[in-house]
Symmetry: D2
């Protein structure tokens, strides 16, 4: 499909990875040849071989000035960029460092070919929802964070189990003892939630999944709910000193008994893919679905 | 909430269950006192103590004449009624025989109380999607069936494994060797799909879940997709004599290699519940979520 | 380690597989050069290029005359040979057709190298237990079978669930509704039991595992018990017409309500491996344990 | 069966639980009436209503002087006593506080009845194996601990994943990225290992199970090995600051990259049960195996 053309291109490269330097500069040359406006994130400024490139003060400034942001790195780098850029009306494109990512699906080798097509307007775009967590202690909002993959409540230490109560849209769901709880977006369904036993969710589905980590109750199962649900988790254990609230694997807040965590969909990012993009092809490659472990009985 | 009033009430009772007779006749007396028009399914006619009750020739006739159909029995009876009635614009209400069902959530004891409220217009209604399967051999449609819970493709005999290929919306997903595949609605996510390892899905979510039964590929995981997806399963094994296609546990068609099964959402039913209805309360009761299997370490 | 030398070598080749012919005749030449007595299974006689090779009337005759039986084919061929040969005091060696098996772990390419070492007395041997199932109807023993992988009780048709009661060493364990039950040896723990959710069991452990297939009870878990346990499964469902009893995937007996299946360890086979054999290396290769599905968060 | 008579009885009561006082003193009266020598653990001395009771300086002193130690509390209290007493030749008996435990299976109500039988020599005894972990940094043994349930290696914080390498009996098994690893005894197979997805193991089986917590590799499965195996886990991640080693849920040591944990069976305890004791009955009660979640399809 042919869509809007991009003119102002922001670039973010994985911080501290020497391998990205060549890729970044190659990309800049490629974009300059096409007479596009190029902005580079401040964190990547020291990697520049070119002179006279606009360096944005920070990622937010990129968001304000660009219509396409290209992220060079793995899924982790793109996750971080997405959280910062979700409030701007920009498109994101991920270029990996040779290892296929769920989000960064263009390899350095394919970069020029696919980018050429994309800049000609031939691309797919898809919206990915982000979730937002607010922590309330007594009646005050203590902190908040957003996540493209998941919000995780976890006991940080092994000696004490976490007990927490879940409400969805004002309805009591259950009170569980477990190592923790993952609230994942469809995007996050291929990350930590999957390790914890959750299902795969097609990226465009407007849904969230709650996966309990090491539940005491053996009949606990992952719960898939509407993406517009209002989730409230209350820490009820009387002994735990400090549980953790993490957003995309980054510590957001330590939690104490009585703390309430409100989780809701808010914001989205727009991911750009080559036209041939196929989510199932990525699943097959990353989950190695061609592998059948035992031989035919007629072997 | 106060909604439309029901005037023409159809009654279906579980076939062959002697226990339902009292419940059915009590229900009829209750409805007649309220001056409602009562129609009884032909299969329940011999249970009638009342005379002068309209007996519908079959379930379809009920669908044409009634705006509310009350089903006395368990979830199985309601599933069967739903499949037959999905093409009519009717509401369904389930009264169980003492054992809480996911669908038949009103007990005989509560029947008069809740039915009174419902007939006064105080009730919740929710739409549940049904799926529809068509089997193609060569280019001809061989047979079709609908299901409120699930469509299951399964090898009927143990000696040979089933190999099948899945496409979603025209995209190849994978080729699997397994005992079979469950394609379940949110309603069916608490039935066979759950035994096979699937997640719980909130009933109103517009989604379907594919759960592979005993997959050879250890990285197989349940896949939750949009409810409007077009699913195609092709039997590719060269040796299997006969696989089975079942709809809500009822044999619909035997399958041979090359057969294609097309599965799509089609139709819905409208379930009526008392106002206090709470899906999570039913989950807690049926899945016994209050049970924690091991003691606190400080015991 | 250096062990007993083999002198009388039996050969069994996968029936009906044209690919094995070269491998078989290469193997015979190799053995004749070492002046060993070679016996070929009757089922493989028509594959012989050599003349003057002893053809055994059947697999049992091989068992009586040989001290080492080499099986050319996959795990399925070796399973079948093992069931027939378990009552003889012979060693088994598996040569695969290019695809690594759990049991047939020598590839055609490595055949001469490893066989040379083995015939020089440099090999590992390990005993693998077999289980034995007897079916009782009323008080008569209806049939029996043995298995190196597993005994499986399974409903053959989807419409009706199987209900069965399990006793171990005279103690009632539980009564379950499910698709079936796998009773697996450690050898079988990498086969169907694994697909059904069972654990991996180290081959030499004297243990059995019971894995319920698609259990209705969500707290059902695989149960690992002593290898010398006496297991009794009774079909208790009142409606099922015919369930199936399978041994290593081969139908042994159809079951009706009231039938009792007694399962116990009986017999063993001795598997021969090259000295470098490493069960964990095979697990890593077959289960693809090097695959990590999602990228480091610092990508 | 009638076995040895007990004469010197030690008593340990759950620390800090007011509810145990009555139970402890009732028990002492019962034992004194039978003219048995009673020793009370120092931690329970302030609960005594009786005077002239021998108070042992510590749990080890109980181990030296007693042939039966009765533990009043839950499984947690008995676990702790077992770790301390494993090096003495004593029997342990658990009395719970009203909630059935896997280990503490006698309720206060049944206490006098069953204890009378047991003291008359009518009881079952069973050996339960303990495991022992040693932590090596460079070549020095940093610390060690024993466990009746499990040794758990776990990342204490969410932001960084744990990478570790497992060797069994000198053979490399795999290198995993995960939240952690549970090495459980059969006794521990009903505790944390079960929450993490492990199988049930019959208590008397000489086996251990390794269960990976939230593994990245989707084909990871619990691994059941011989109880006499030598397990070595090496922390290989280059970024993790501090992982945790826990024994029965108690922090034993913080771990850094390069640390090696050696785990082996060592010691056992002898558990005393009433003659009617049945492990499967406890499993049924605690795992709620009578619960079937969905209704018969003929409902």
């Amino acid at each position: 499909m042919t869509e809007d053309m991009f003119e102002n291109i922001g670039l973010i490269a994985k911080y501290g990875d020497i391998q990205v330097k060549d890729c970044l500069n190659l990309l800049i040359s490629f974009l300059l040849k096409r007479h596009l406006n190029v902005f580079v994130d401040a964190s990547s400024a020291d990697l520049l071989s070119h002179t006279n490139i606009n360096v944005a003060a920070n990622t937010e400034a990129l968001g304000q000035n660009c219509d396409l942001i290209i992220v060079i790195g793995g899924d982790g780098t793109l996750l971080q960029a997405a959280r910062l850029l979700a409030k701007y009306d920009v498109c994101l494109l991920g270029i990996n460092l040779g290892r296929l990512g769920f989000l960064s699906d263009i390899s350095p080798k394919e970069m020029e070919k696919y980018l050429g097509e994309i800049l000609n307007g031939a691309y797919n775009s898809e919206d990915r929802l982000l979730i937002y967590a607010e922590v309330y202690r007594d009646k005050a909002c203590l902190s908040y964070c957003n996540a493209l993959n998941d919000i995780v409540i976890h006991r940080g230490n092994l000696s004490h189990m976490l007990t927490f109560e879940t409400m969805i849209d004002g309805h009591f769901v259950n009170c569980q003892r477990a190592d923790g709880l993952v609230v994942a977006t469809p995007t996050g369904s291929t990350a930590y939630a999957l390790s914890a036993g959750g299902p795969l969710i097609y990226p465009s589905l407007n849904a969230l999944v709650l996966v309990t980590i090491c539940p005491h109750t053996l009949s606990s199962r992952p719960l898939v709910i509407d993406g517009d649900s209002h989730i409230q988790i209350t820490i009820v254990h009387d002994r735990i000193e400090q549980a953790q609230l993490n957003a995309d694997g980054v510590l957001c807040q330590t939690l104490i008994p009585g703390d309430r965590v409100i989780i809701e969909k808010r914001q989205h990012i727009r991911l750009i893919h080559p036209e041939k993009h196929d989510h199932f092809a990525i699943l097959r490659a990353k989950l190695d679905w061609s592998k059948s472990i035992y031989t035919h009985l007629n072997d």
